[in-house]
Symmetry: C2
């Protein structure tokens, strides 16, 4: 259920700000406990960073889409609402465009010089070991936290990785996973994210990894079905402007009116929570944390062809580049193969470069990448669609917030700490699969429990 | 002139948001060109990060206070409104508390082992040379910008400075100048700030440096007198919530009503501009820059004694520590010496630790520092006052915004770039003495010229 019309004037047990997966899960969990809940959403749709779209007549996800076998909360949630997953197409050789040369590879790890490959395997193992040694609930409190948080991941790369190809591959991993450059992110934050995602191979992998499968009908559908299960409709077009705490409750002020509640759960990323007026009621540490969790920069693109012609040549459609602005592509063809679709990304600095370049420049760059990877047949797409997440008013970036050096050790312990009657959800607050749908669900379950304990 | 009552409903040439020194300068410059201006201020006072206060019956600055001989815009502005400067007391030996030992020194550079001192001089020269080679208008575009912006200043310290004392001194410099730890700031940003402040010795120095003098009656008075020269009163208690751009102008929406203008100058730090609703009219690059310029963390403290007893012992009152939370003190005694006053700071992480600790804990820590530096007489203050800048709703930190690694090279060119009818002032946008009153004035002059060219 949802509504986007009329003035809002309600009193409930709990107000939930944000109807992304985290907010919806919070609300469902609270309703299951018998609480009266009101979900407030700035957009005219649910889903937040999950967003429905179409290309060449086929339904696609313009936002988050993949699920891995480790993401058990997400798999359970999808099953609960009756959405099936199916495997990401991954048959055939992948393409690597490195140093202006195109190579193909049978494995998901792209072909690179033998020494680079050996080093990459060693370095990935080392990073994983460093990641798995962090305390999951408080990575800022580990014995080595300060040193790990004092440097950028780029610094670590240049000082610990010798071969050019292995260095570039780690930069590519950072761009693809965090939507930022390795200099933007703290080594500690990088490692904590790797810990939450069960290691670099799982994070970046298709078969057995976080890109193993996708949802029939789109991941966004899961949030629509979650919203449909709510007893009270999601209030749409209701951006929250202020949260005012009083002795006996909170007033959540939206463009459509007020909701009075005993407690409020902010199920939005820190950068969006930071734009809400809390009338100076938050502890300074929280205020400063929210100044320091910027969203990544990414533009997600889809390009459609008459046929998935790359498959004819034994290619999986998966391709990466160390230099093209559209630096990652995957096969996104419909299951009936009635056309061929590629999905890809402008990540990190490339997204910043292309956000103001306009649709045509982006389309050209995507087609150019597809031609480079898959040959001249890629020159003639039948459709093109992109989604510039940098410019989305109610996300202000994607996939996720990141932390620069020093932020986690100085401000990190404010991440989940309730501030009076204000609680914090959202995938950024998860202790596992943070940045993913699975982390969003975990955060909703945790926040609902936190609130229920205090009602 | 100023007003804090009644509804606002005005049409002017230019709206100026923020009545700190930058906004007031912008308004004065525009009025001098014959423009009709309206200055909107969230607080009930002008001055922004300049703030009046009292201790033991004496007027003090709870915000910015010092002026150096290089800050010619500020000296001219003070002269223009008839505010005199006088020298910071700096006679006698300074105190250094390092490695739990207290030493005194005749020079402003504290006493440290000879090898450390030699290294420190060499390292400071090297940093200065690196700083002075940056292009002032576009430090992100220098030949070495990417490498300098890929690391934290802490990384540079640990890799380029060998002696413990020299390392600790550079950390102390970072805390004192930026109000953040060296891991929070990009090496490139650090260097650009050093360039703007004419080198590390000038930035950190008293005689001949940025702490050479202060203003009789307080620096804050300059902004009061600037406001008094405006033809139109500053509108107080009018926090700006939205800036809406139309084809023929802007509407600036405040809690007290609307101002319609041809153009608007945002004379507030990026972190505050980021909280205003621009109805998605800003380029994504600007939006992302504002997510990435957090304010420093500092609590400014004053403690008063019957007499400036430290002077009897040949001490200047200047003291620094590598471990005490209140890590810097200066003599702030009134010119008539009717009592003794010390001014100091909790900087960077120490400020974060003490923001929620409460006044008493802060007072105790300040007295403890004064006792450590100046002996047991410091145990009996007659008054204590502090100002927690982290918790100030309309500053959200001080002295200034900083940039983490990668921010300047990815987003820096959006810093001053007008966005349609929206222009950017504030000390963070200056190309010289950014972070200081002088930089605020420069930004106001530049923004006024920019707007006047387009009216």
């Amino acid at each position: 259920m949802s509504t986007a019309e009329g003035a809002i004037d309600r009193s409930v047990d709990v107000a939930v700000v944000g109807a992304g997966m985290a907010g919806l899960k919070t609300a469902l969990e609270l309703e299951a406990r018998g609480q009266d809940v009101c979900v407030l959403e700035a957009r005219d749709r649910v889903g937040g960073r999950l967003k429905p779209g179409h290309i060449a007549g086929h339904r696609i996800d313009k936002g988050g889409q993949w699920v891995g076998p480790q993401q058990t909360l997400l798999l359970a949630q999808a099953a609960d609402v009756g959405v099936e997953s199916y495997d990401q197409f991954n048959t055939g050789r992948s393409v690597l465009h490195f140093n202006d040369r195109v190579k193909t590879s049978r494995s998901e790890i792209p072909k690179m010089p033998f020494l680079s490959l050996l080093e990459l395997q060693r370095v990935v193992s080392r990073l994983d070991r460093m990641a798995f040694s962090l305390p999951p609930d408080a990575p800022w409190a580990g014995p080595n936290a300060k040193a790990l948080d004092s440097q950028t991941f780029e610094t670590w790369i240049t000082q610990n990785v010798r071969t050019h190809a292995a260095q570039e591959f780690l930069r590519l991993v950072t761009r693809s996973v965090f939507c930022c450059e390795p200099q933007h992110v703290s080594l500690l934050y990088f490692l904590d994210y790797v810990r939450g995602g069960e290691g670099i191979d799982v994070l970046t992998g298709v078969s057995g990894g976080a890109q193993e499968a996708k949802f029939r009908g789109g991941a966004h559908q899961i949030t629509e079905l979650m919203a449909a299960k709510l007893k009270t409709p999601v209030m749409h077009d209701a951006p929250v402007r202020a949260v005012l705490q009083h002795d006996d409750g909170v007033v959540v002020r939206t463009d459509r009116g007020d909701v009075r509640a005993k407690r409020v759960v902010m199920a939005v990323p820190p950068a969006l929570a930071n734009q809400i007026d809390f009338a100076n009621s938050l502890p300074a540490k929280r205020v400063h944390l929210m100044q320091r969790m910027p969203m990544g920069t990414v533009i997600k693109v889809h390009v459609a062809y008459e046929r998935p012609f790359w498959r004819d040549r034994g290619l999986s459609g998966m391709a990466v580049s160390d230099s093209l602005p559209c630096n990652v592509l995957f096969d996104q063809s419909p299951e009936d193969l009635s056309c061929g679709i590629l999905v890809g990304f402008f990540d990190a600095d490339a997204a910043v470069d292309f956000t103001s370049a306009g649709d045509n420049a982006r389309r050209d760059a995507v087609v150019e990448a597809a031609k480079t990877f898959f040959g001249p047949e890629a020159a003639s797409p039948i459709d093109y669609v992109d989604n510039d997440w940098l410019a989305e008013e109610w996300s202000r970036g994607c996939y996720v917030a990141h932390m620069a050096p020093g932020v986690m050790t100085t401000f990190g312990d404010a991440l989940r700490e309730p501030c009076g009657r204000v609680h914090w959800a959202g995938t950024e607050t998860a202790t596992k699969w943070q940045g993913y749908m699975d982390g969003a669900l975990q955060s909703g379950i945790r926040a609902a429990g936190e609130v229920a304990d205090r009602l």
